[in-house]
């Protein structure tokens, strides 16, 4: 196919350095396009100089030891405080209430851990912990688990809740999967490196923070919930973006 002037000019304006078969044939016999090409190549030279801004002295930030960045650990020897009395509450908000009451019992220490932050957050978002068989929409799921975070196969269970939340100072996906015993909170934490799995074991709550690649995930459910079963599905399905 022979190029006409319009096609040639479009192509050469997209990449003035390119040399393409039909284009070379066309420009050899078209003075107007030959001039256009020379003009654009000159323009590109100027664009390159305009883009080449002066670079200041750049410094490499202090790099954390490998596998030690933002290590999550339960503070050793932290004080345990007496929990507020358990109150009977509606079944659909049971887990939120458990966590909420525990959070009240565990006022912030100077070393406020990721696990504390997670439990606090769950306690403050009880609407997430409804027992339901209605899945969150694909649109909402994709908005929350977006390419800047990573990808995840949503077929790990019935995901009933997806929202972007701030945990430990970072904006992360907060999901809820319907487990056998009730709602299970799943937090995707691409920027929280943990050295090894951390179990969360508090009264009626059972959970884990697990290293996954250069980040981690947190899963929190009711005490009888088989977190390990969900954990295996989720770990295999999550892939962080770089």
């Amino acid at each position: 196919m022979n190029m006409n002037c319009e096609q040639y000019k479009e192509a050469i304006a997209a990449d003035p350095s390119a040399s393409f078969g039909d284009g070379a044939t066309h420009v050899a016999g078209c003075n107007s396009c030959a001039i256009f090409r020379v003009e654009l190549q000159a323009l590109d030279g100027r664009i390159a100089r305009a883009l080449a801004i002066v670079v200041p002295e750049l410094k490499i930030p202090e790099l954390p030891p490998v596998g030690d960045g933002n290590i999550v650990s339960m503070p050793v020897g932290r004080k345990t405080r007496r929990l507020a009395p358990w109150l009977a509450i509606a079944a659909s908000f049971a887990l939120a209430a458990i966590i909420g009451v525990q959070s009240v019992g565990n006022a912030p220490d100077s070393e406020y851990s990721l696990a504390d932050d997670i439990l606090d957050h769950i306690g403050h978002e009880p609407a997430a912990l409804k027992v339901t068989n209605v899945p969150v929409s694909d649109e909402e799921f994709s908005r929350v688990v977006n390419p800047s975070v990573g990808s995840m196969d949503r077929n790990v269970g019935l995901i009933s809740y997806a929202r972007t939340c701030v945990i430990h100072g970072k904006t992360v996906p907060h999901l809820v999967i319907q487990g056998r015993e009730g709602p299970v909170t799943l937090l995707l934490l691409p920027d929280e490196m943990v050295e090894r799995a951390q179990t969360i074991d508090r009264n009626r709550v059972n959970g884990v923070i697990l290293p996954v690649g250069h980040g981690s995930i947190a899963l929190i459910g009711e005490r009888k919930e088989n977190i390990g079963e969900i954990e295996r599905k989720v770990v295999d399905s999550v892939e962080w973006s770089i």
Partner: protein, 171 residues
Amino acid sequence: MNSNDADRERRSRFDRAVGVYHPDMYRYAVWLCRDPGIAEEVVQEALLRAWKSLDALRDDEAAKSWLLTIVRRENARYFERKRLETVDIDNLSPAQSAMLAVKDDPTLEDLRRAIFQLEDDYREPLVLQVLMGHSTREIAELMGMQQGAILTRLHRARIKLKEVVQKEAAA
């Protein structure tokens, strides 16, 4: 190899990649966010992320694209976090004004300003092609778009800049 050797090797690999492409990361960040101060922050965050994710870089030959991808995502995260408004061209900060100045060639200043004012969708592929030397296929991959759409944007960006240069010459 013991863990100290492994750490040293990892650091050395990181330094090799970053040593070469650090200025490119900064320039790309500046043209993405149009603010030298924010660009420095974005690049710092990108370096930390690159360090943590270094094992994901399978081929050192691909380090440049890999680092630029991290800068691009970090820039998006930065703006998502801060919920910043777009840059107001009429109220530039001193750092932005300084960035637009071209001391050795004042004739480039209008062109730099025109590039600064291009829509993000046009400016970014132009920077990647002209400054970073990426092919249109590589740009399409990095931006998650079709190659045809990239070609259209590059064409439009250059036509807009050509008009600026022509006006400047006529004046």
